[in-house]
Symmetry: C2
Subunit: 404 residues, 2 copies
């Protein structure tokens, strides 16, 4: 099944906003076995919206943006004029919008009334993060979905869309997925090559971001999916950290919390990025108390006591330095685990022996300290981001090792 997406919003065409809705919608639809065949971005004018609508040939149309209360917001009105719908005020929705304002100590404006108007027969989608409800309309054998543009609101409402699409279709594939860290996409792909041929009725969709990759497996046969998952696990179990919906920081916080354990970080090239990712998780304070950003050599000695000999003989970017940073941090912070990162993010500072992208990691607990070493590709930001993902993965793996 195919879908078309129309993103309405002059701010998308002026560059004021980057369109993150399309890739989100694409990833979610893919899991329902729906592929986006085309996507158009248009400004908030009736003519532009009509022109885009005239191109749609797909079974599902998702149109985003233009559901606000202002005069510029004309998506519903443009759909109505294009398809010949009459928009009628839905009193229950109107009341819900009024209450949304009331609960925030604000008064509803008159212009908000139009947000409660829908074509008869529309299924209204509730919006808990804003005033603009969405809607689903069946028209001429096509499912038309209208959603607000702000990504937070759209994401909050998407489960309602998924539930409706699932209900109306009998060919939703079975699906599952994995989160992997450790190697590059091309390496995984070559490991999976025969899996693609051995399981022709299973679709594998890789979604790579910096330092991590998610694979979604889709099949219309439950048994095929199960076999493919087993084969996938067999080949890549060393690299699998969680399910496709997991985040590294979420897995780490949950894993530590489960065993009432704590962690501290000592970061050089990542410069606080590892700690910041962990703090992104609500409730991180249960497992994380403190971190150090030790960017200069002197600070590594001063704060943790890394020996000057190590810095002199091996340099700050070395296995020995990563070892000492983690070992000494674990003693100083008195945490169950201590993680260190030291590397060359570039663009300067590389050498033939230690090229830009070289990063050493230390992972200490009371009994043992181990070190790890990777060379990451990309620019400074990419290398730092990949290193932070790898650092998180090391401790997640350590926690999982003891589970098994």
């Amino acid at each position: 099944m195919q879908a078309s997406v129309i993103n309405v919003g002059s701010e998308l065409l002026s560059g004021q906003t980057t369109n993150t809705n399309l890739s989100y919608i694409a990833r979610r639809l893919r899991r329902l076995g729906i592929v986006i065949a085309r996507s158009t971005t248009v400004s908030d004018t009736e003519a532009a919206i009509h022109e885009a609508l005239a191109m749609v040939q797909e079974d599902v149309l998702i149109i985003t943006g233009g559901l606000g209360p202002s005069r510029d917001d004309i998506t519903k009105e443009s759909l109505a004029s294009f398809f010949g719908w009459r928009l009628v005020k839905d009193e229950r929705v109107f009341e819900a919008i009024r209450r949304y304002f009331e609960s925030r100590g604000r008064t509803m404006r008159e212009t908000n009334e139009k947000q409660a108007r829908f074509p008869p027969g529309a299924t209204v989608l509730k919006n808990q993060r804003g005033t603009a409800p969405g809607m689903v309309v069946e028209h001429g054998g096509r499912t038309i979905v209208a959603l607000p543009g702000p990504p937070g609101e759209l994401k909050g409402m998407f489960p309602q869309v998924e539930a409706l699409l699932k209900k109306r279709r009998d060919d939703v594939p079975y699906q599952d997925g994995f989160l992997l860290v450790g190697r590059g996409e091309s390496e995984f792909e070559s490991d999976l090559q025969d899996l693609y041929t051995e399981h022709p009725d299973v679709e594998l969709a890789p979604y790579a971001s910096l330092g991590e990759i998610r694979y979604i497996l889709l099949s219309h046969s439950k048994e095929s999916l199960k076999q493919a998952k087993e084969a996938f696990r067999e080949r890549l179990h060393k690299d699998i950290l969680g399910r496709a919906d997991d985040t590294l920081e979420g897995l780490l916080v949950a894993g530590l919390r489960q065993r009432s354990a704590s962690v501290a970080f000592a970061e050089s090239c990542t410069g606080g990025l590892v700690a910041s990712r962990v703090v992104d998780v609500p409730g991180a304070s249960d497992v994380f108390e403190e971190g150090y950003v030790l960017y200069s050599n002197a600070s590594k000695s001063r704060r943790l006591g890394v020996s000057p000999q190590v810095l002199e003989n091996y340099g700050a970017v070395s296995e020995q330095c990563a070892y000492e940073m983690a070992y000494l941090l674990q003693r100083k912070a008195r945490t169950d685990y201590a993680l260190s990162v030291t590397g060359i993010a570039g663009p300067e500072g590389g050498s033939e022996k230690k090229p830009v992208g070289t990063v050493y990691f230390g992972l200490a607990k009371a009994e043992t300290t181990r070190t790890f070493h990777r060379i990451f590709s990309g620019d400074r930001q990419m290398i730092r981001r990949k290193a932070s993902a790898y650092a998180l993965s090391l401790l997640i793996r350590e926690l999982q090792r003891h589970e098994a």
Copy 2:
């Protein structure tokens, strides 16, 4: 003048990649006075590309992606079949691609040959970050620009596009812009309201991101632009930190370096994000040695000596705590400046007196320590990002105050 953008790439429609090229191109074209009227994203098939090409009515067409060496890369071939061009091998370009491989110790594959084929009369755009050259072709009164999809390559080549577009047009507006931090977009907009009416021949384009906002001013009259810029500065000089092309972290590192000064950070709710942003700047080591992530109350006392009375009487999220963190850090790290951040990022932890989003900042130097206080809106990630921008802005402003 209007432009149309076609992004070619199945990875954009499957959600494997988020399209950041469109907003980048939009921002750059806007500065040349060119507005994007529509944008289409299509898969790598000739039929889909032709269908999108048939819709183009604008003077400028920018098409991205599909210039690689693989069989899936068919953008140039699809343009050629649509417009009736013949693609001819350009020996000099072919040689350049061969050298690109050679310089990286790799051998050019046969499939790369097609990357050197262009319609006669095309201006070839050099790509220093990859093998795919771009091109500009004038056809039927329209300027057609083809660029590779990887954002790094596209951005690296865009100055060549700008130079060509400028040369071919006599109505490029004068432009300049500012980077502002301190208040929300709506507050700035109301301050600028009369500027919009007093300078009708100057266009103001705001580009907001989390905690910072950039304004681009455009006019076809040099004198009007100058006057509007002066009026803009007069109204918002307290909030202006730099030019539109500046970044906060870049301004901070440059400002500190200029006066051979150093900084240290003590972060609670931002959790290392401030330090990490500074480390994003190559050469940050000239001005930054170390930072602390002090997430728990105990760590604030243990590492910096924040007094237990302050934590007990006022809490960790307080002016007093921010003051002590900055004051004590400056003494401990012996830097010229020390910056502290402590706040409630949510979703839990807010109270009536200190709602979620409340953040206190401390800025210490040898002689004085000052504190600042803001309430940011948004979710946990947004609050943390805005707080990091505000923290950076405090020190930039301090450095600029002494310049003036």
